[in-house]
Symmetry: C2
Subunit: 663 residues, 2 copies
């Protein structure tokens, strides 16, 4: 047991590094690190399992700072614990260009950061995914290989975001006993007292979802330790409400929103030094505090050594598999074979199915080839077709399954998928309707920013969903998803393209993908060939009979329509080619000359997609014609809607002929 | 008190209209109307205050079917209660093109529908706004004018969505006693039993946020009535958990997910008729049931007559003001004067401020001129600058204020804003960071679909926010918002444009607006002129010195940068003009010849916006150059970021010169 005085010195080291870094940057959030320093000190020095010598040690405990604005708490910890990259110079460059200490924690920038946080609520929901990941991996490889906790520090703001409820419900339902949330219960948010906008009894709220809950003094190290020890022993996730004072130690600003997001200023820093008895200069760590942190940094080495010894005893084949999954490498041959099999089957059976069904057929094959895939759906399993044959559901008592019933919780699902991917060893994919990607968008954005391999299956991708009407019909969602940097948006036109798009998504190790799939049946347009043509982003699916006068460009369900239009045009003697464009991102990443070859030199160009035009001009140019949507859809059978909104082969023919007349 | 047998007949009339309409459409959701028919019958025949003779009667009780997929429940009710438009023919055309009975309830299609629902959770959160609207209007015009309840029927799925928690917390905090939520507690969602994905004790959850809760048998009319009466008497919002059987009455399918979203089929319909003793043919209403519903339809007439009498006694000026606000007409002269005043002040003081500050200055003036404006912020009041001088906060005990502390609840806020607008008499506006429009997006989409006047103030609109880094820096959000049909996206460049954009947003009676505002200071670029130039969408802000060789197009904070680039180009003898583009939507709605005039004939065109290019090609053409972002931002002081990402006057000059060389 650490003495209270040493604890205080170690906690104050965090406080002053945060104070000094924010002051140097003249920007940042000192309030949280000052308020939560005691919690963090107990957690990192007495409870958590980690080893700075190997920050990526797979069985380390995870720590998620959901309140990402308190990033200096994390950077101070990493520095004090001797994570090599986070030098004192980096702390001095807090929030400066190219530093390892950006304004919010970014896991792709700073080793030792588990996930990127800042958008509130995300960290908590991502941590639920990490804790699920631990259970899933333990169920596969045993607790000798995987047995760690996931700790979260969450703020009042985290708990106000709706996604937090989805996370709380999922964690409670799945009995994620190794998830422990420390709530920095300081009763202050940016506008002032949290009582301005809320009066929820958070303990009762978490309890209603099956959590173990307790409230403690968040500045009492013994209480913090006792609460953490008790929480580790329960069979449910735990909330520890840590009553703290934001900006603890600042005589004039503690307990006020003024210390949330602004430097203290020189005078108040001096006053805080006096109040906390801190003699050291800016960015200086007194010896006693440094020694305490050095000792803390050593504590995990033995656990890691024991883990290494256990792993050495694991059968080689199992260990190889464990390591392969953690590296994120695919079983390439098995995957290729599975994909080839689907393509062959599609040709043999001339499959006329919706691409959501094509996806199911593909999943039946590839989930066997790639056992690290974890499927799911936001309560639309039968509609999204994301459950492959033989996939067993994950339940609170059995994590050996590979399919998650997420409930109607798109946002929590997407964030937890990020957590599964970040945990390592798993490739999460899951489904909802395309229109509801709006609900999960903040988490999809974070996946894109972090470069995580999560795969969103988004079905019912246009007015083709029909009768459910405009609330359920995406028109702007393809554009909105294509707008997110680094997200791979894939809209296949038939079973062969769907299989290829799945292969692309799985192989995209460092970016998320969205598979955009139809509700309605579509003909098989491709012949199987070994090459993954979708990887080209766009390619000529049908050549013209002679030198092309018209090039038609389409995606997904509209490719078949383009092929019909081609036939009509050819009948009229207009040589026409069809280009399938399953992915704008992949196409636009190709060299200009290759793109020019695909775009071709036909006098008329027409883009076709049952969605708005936005984004298309980058592919076909703003002088091309476009057949699609300009506003919301309507409730009616799908065929009538395509006719009403003028997305028909005839309309394509007219647009092409009109272009030819003008050209 | 109604006899139980009459009640059953009336409820069965709902059930069979739903069964028959879904069967006729061969599409739809019979399970909820069958399960919730008893609840709806008690509510509409014994409790709710409304008058089909005047569906828009301002003091009617509101009913929100949050579980919008059960739309036939509503259509059956409207038909049985004699809402004229919803004839039996319309019920037969359920889910058909152009009918008044679309797949999900659409308030802009069907009179008697209070709000558009379907995306789960939205209805509940919108209802919170309606209940707030009632309190706000009662505080202004007295309970003689405004004194009604808001009832919600919510499903399991509604309660799983995170937005529901934000709504529950807001309603509990604000003690919205006249909000009563009936939860259709049937323990079934699409994937099957709700226990597959959740185990939250919903009563405890609502209670944790200060709600009155009770669980009843949702098929017992006496219990339903008693619970509703008790709920009406409490001082808090109420949750009535109505334990029901989905698809009640269907011998083979009741209690199963099979009856959620598919027709029963002829055989099962016959079995259900037998089970419920329903002798009438398809779409036939037996006389006893019809008579019961006719009597129910008459009940509200007296209350409405009494209300009309009370209104007649209201002082004429007050009544005129009440009616003006309900019509949604603006105090045009006062608004014009306020806007003119801001413009004059900006010129007189040559204001160099962030446009978020310009917005605050504008709000100081226009909230006085337009007292029906209800402001707010998602816990970023001081950053969004949405609180005007003298605006008093709304509190649980005092609704005379005009500013709402929404907490960190962007999604619930946006949906409640929709409810405030739908209630009538109020113009909601509120703020968050632009990047967090991702959180509120589903509700912004619904506002756009419904054509509601809500105004989203979205600040910190680019990498210009600096140190907080890429999690907080929007790059794709302008494109993503512009993608939403009917949403007006306004990005002003200085105080004068900001005042004009506020005027446009307020005058846009039937569409929502998003005001996109800078964190950083910007110079005043406009001279005051009487005309609202922003209403043109794009206009020449600076003419060239001679025949323009270069046209620069920019929005918001990048207009000043364009003006700097213009000066550099003119120095080099390159005649350059600058076009400010505050709104793509307004510009693209203008006739082609007017647009051509604004675009001009300069050989080089360059678009400038600190965001991705998507969407710009529709304005400037895909052959124009563009200076902006191609990926995520970074954490650093704003100036360094603009330099790093090449969004500088020099880069614009180079792009223009390069265009000239190529042209």
């Amino acid at each position: 047991m650490m003495t209270r005085s040493l604890h205080a010195r170690m906690a104050n080291a965090i406080r002053f590094l945060a104070i000094d870094a924010v002051e140097a940057a003249n920007s940042g959030h000192p309030g949280l690190p000052m308020g939560a320093a005691d919690i963090a000190t107990v957690l990192f020095s007495q409870v958590m399992k980690f080893d700075p010598a190997d920050p990526k040690w797979p069985d380390r405990d995870r720590f998620v700072l959901s309140a990402g604005h308190g990033s200096m708490l994390l950077y101070a910890l990493l520095h004090l614990l001797g994570y090599e990259a986070v030098t004192i110079e980096e702390l001095k460059r807090f929030r400066q260009f190219g530093s390892l200490t950006p304004g919010h924690p970014e896991n792709f920038v700073t080793t030792g950061i588990e996930t990127t946080t800042g958008p509130l609520g995300q960290g908590l929901a991502t941590a639920v995914g990490m804790a699920m990941g631990e259970r899933l991996m333990a169920a596969r490889f045993g607790s000798g290989a995987v047995d760690h906790f996931t700790y979260v520090l969450a703020s009042d703001g985290d708990l106000m975001e709706g996604i937090s409820q989805e996370a709380v419900e999922l964690a409670g339902h799945l009995k994620l006993a190794k998830l422990i949330v420390m709530w920095d219960d300081n009763r202050i948010s940016i506008d002032g007292a949290t009582s301005l906008s809320g009066s929820t009894d958070q303990l009762a709220r978490f309890q209603a979802s099956g959590w173990d809950v307790v409230r403690i003094d968040g500045h009492d190290p013994d209480a913090i330790r006792a609460a953490l020890e008790a929480a580790r022993a329960t069979g449910t996730p735990s909330l520890i409400a840590c009553r703290t004072t934001i900006g603890f130690g600042s005589p004039a600003k503690a307990g006020s929103e003024k210390v949330h997001g602004a430097p203290l200023g020189a005078a108040e820093i001096a006053a805080t030094r006096a109040a906390l008895g801190w003699e050291a200069g800016a960015f200086e760590i007194p010896e006693d505090a440094a020694a305490g942190w050095n000792a803390a940094a050593q504590k995990g080495a033995a656990a890691r050594a024991a883990w290494i010894a256990r792993m050495a005893e694991m059968p080689a084949a199992e260990r190889d598999e464990f390591e392969r999954r953690l590296r994120g490498d695919l079983p390439a041959a098995a995957l290729a074979e599975a994909v080839a099999g689907v393509k062959a089957k599609a040709v043999a059976e001339r499959l006329v199915v919706a691409t959501r069904k094509s996806s199911e057929i593909t999943l039946d094959a590839i989930t066997k080839a790639v056992p690290e895939m974890i499927g799911g759906s936001a309560d639309l399993t039968g509609s999204n077709n994301t459950r492959a044959k033989g996939q067993k559901a994950v339940t609170p008592d059995d994590f050996s399954g590979t399919f998650v019933h997420w409930g109607v919780r798109e946002h929590g699902m997407a964030a937890a998928m990020n957590g599964l991917a970040l945990h390592g060893g798993l490739i999460p994919y899951s489904g909802t309707f395309l229109v509801f990607s709006d609900y999960s968008r903040p988490a999809i954005r974070l996946a894109s920013l972090m470069g995580e391999r999560v795969i969103h299956v988004l079905t019912h991708d246009s007015i083709g969903l029909g009768e459910d009407g405009p609330t359920h019909q995406p028109v702007e969602h393809l554009a909105a998803l294509r707008a997110i940097p680094n997200l791979l948006v894939l809209r296949p036109c038939d079973t062969i393209e769907t299989a290829e798009c799945w292969e692309i998504a799985l192989r995209a190790k460092d970016r998320p993908s969205a598979l955009i799939l139809s509700r309605q049946n579509l003909p098989l347009l491709r012949d199987a060939d070994a090459a993954n043509r979708c990887a080209e982003g766009a390619y000529e699916l049908r050549s013209a009979d002679g030198a092309a006068q018209v090039s038609l460009f389409a995606t997904g369900s509209e490719v078949a329509l383009a092929v019909e239009a081609q036939a009509l045009l050819e009948t009229q003697g207009v040589a026409t080619r069809v280009v399938s464009v399953p992915s704008f991102e992949l196409f636009l990443a190709r060299p200009p000359e290759e793109r020019a070859r695909v775009i071709g030199t036909a006098r008329a160009r027409v883009g076709i997609e049952a969605a708005i035009r936005m984004g298309w001009d980058a592919v076909i140019g703003s002088d091309a014609a476009f057949i699609g949507m300009t506003g919301f859809g309507a409730s009616a059978p799908a065929k009538e809607l395509f006719a009403h909104f003028g997305i028909t082969p005839q309309a394509v023919v007219e647009a092409a002929l009109s272009q030819l007349r003008q050209a």
